[in-house]
């Protein structure tokens, strides 16, 4: 009896599988996007253009991996929400540390470079 319930618990999973085409498409896209982000360095784009292109390709690749390779696209919204909302905390942390880095940088300029 206990063995039956154990099997039933393990059966609690998406029984559906997805067509091979979707994986191959995402795979190909990841290759192309990686190639493009390498080209950003190859052609030595600088400044805002470089940073925005790097971020654009990075988030696109991360999104594709999470949505399709990690199946989040097919999961119920509860799991997706539990996983994605904590990322806002990371974004806040990034914002805090950008401000902190600027403060440290200018302190160092004033005391190390200009000599107080």
């Amino acid at each position: 009896m206990s063995e039956n319930t154990e099997i039933d618990k393990n059966k609690e999973k998406p029984a559906q599988t997805h067509k091979i085409g979707i994986y191959l498409w995402i795979w190909g896209l990841l290759f192309v996007l990686s190639f493009f982000s390498y080209m950003v360095d190859w052609y030595q784009f600088q400044g805002i253009l470089r940073w925005s292109l790097i971020l654009f390709f990075m988030f696109l690749k991360a999104g594709l991996i999470m949505a399709f390779f990690m199946h989040l696209f097919w999961e119920r919204y509860t799991l997706v929400n539990v996983l994605l909302w904590p990322m806002t905390a990371i974004a806040c942390f990034v914002g805090l540390m950008v401000a902190e880095a600027k403060y440290t940088f200018f302190s160092r300029l004033i005391y190390f470079v200009l000599g107080g």
């Binding site: 990841l30 990686s34 991996i65 919204y77 904590p86």
Partner: protein, 234 residues
């Protein structure tokens, strides 16, 4: 979710309050091991975020010029220095292994034992090649005099962030490779078809384990996407 018990539940945004308030499992249709892997990956995300944020803070606050990564990581190919060549190859190897893993999960659920095993083995070999190239890159930089406290190319913090971040990621890849080999053996032996009990557990094996392993492996690839963007390209 073609599970018949899930068909009748609310879909879309309405599913969030109803799933969370259902007085039972909140993650409907998600096997407990898979939910736990996701929670672990979430905590791992925070660890890697802390490393990358501290790197950002260190790099943004130094008054010394940061080393030019496309020169530091260039590799001579037929006498011509190609910027970031090894890193680009490593990226493609890791994406390749991520693709084979995704297909292994698919074939696992289709109970195609042979294909699933071959693909997991291919994934493990891809991971092994990645770790090998990383070891090569580390030894090359150490020979060139990069240390955690100083380096000949620029700001002294560069080395400590480089070794810490890529080292932690490489550790994840290595652990993943070990598990991939273990699971390749389990798949070939047919553990997931016969429901043979595992070494550490009395639970019956199930192909959902391949998806859980896949989640970990895709996460390792995901982290590399961010390291590639922020550490090597920025």
């Amino acid at each position: 979710m073609s599970d018949s018990s899930l068909e009748n539940l609310p879909k879309g945004w309405k599913s969030v309050p109803s799933d969370l308030g259902s007085d039972q499992t909140a993650f409907k249709g998600v096997q407990w091991g898979k939910a736990m892997m996701w929670i672990f990956l979430l905590s791992d995300t925070f660890i890697f975020s802390c490393f990358l944020i501290s790197y950002m803070k260190g790099r943004a606050s130094t008054v010394v010029d940061w080393p030019n990564t496309s020169h530091v990581f260039s590799l001579d190919f037929m006498g011509v220095p190609v910027p970031l060549l090894l890193i680009a190859i490593m990226t493609f190897v890791l994406i390749t292994s991520s693709g084979t893993m995704a297909l292994a999960v698919k074939y696992g659920y289709e109970k195609n034992r042979k294909m699933c095993g071959h693909l997991i083995l291919a994934t493990a070999i891809g991971g092994l090649i990645f770790v090998g190239m990383q070891a090569f890159e580390w030894s090359k930089l150490i020979h060139e005099g990069v240390r955690p406290w100083s380096n000949p190319f620029g700001a002294g913090q560069f080395g400590s962030y480089f070794f810490m971040i890529t080292g932690f990621h490489g550790t994840h890849v290595s652990i993943g490779v070990i598990f991939l080999f273990i699971f390749a053996r389990k798949v070939y032996r047919g553990d997931f078809d016969t429901g043979r009990r595992g070494f550490f557990t009395t639970m019956k094996s199930d192909y959902v384990s391949i998806e859980i392993l896949g989640l970990y492996w895709h996460f390792v690839d995901l982290v590399w996407v961010f390291i590639f963007a922020f550490f090597y390209l920025w």
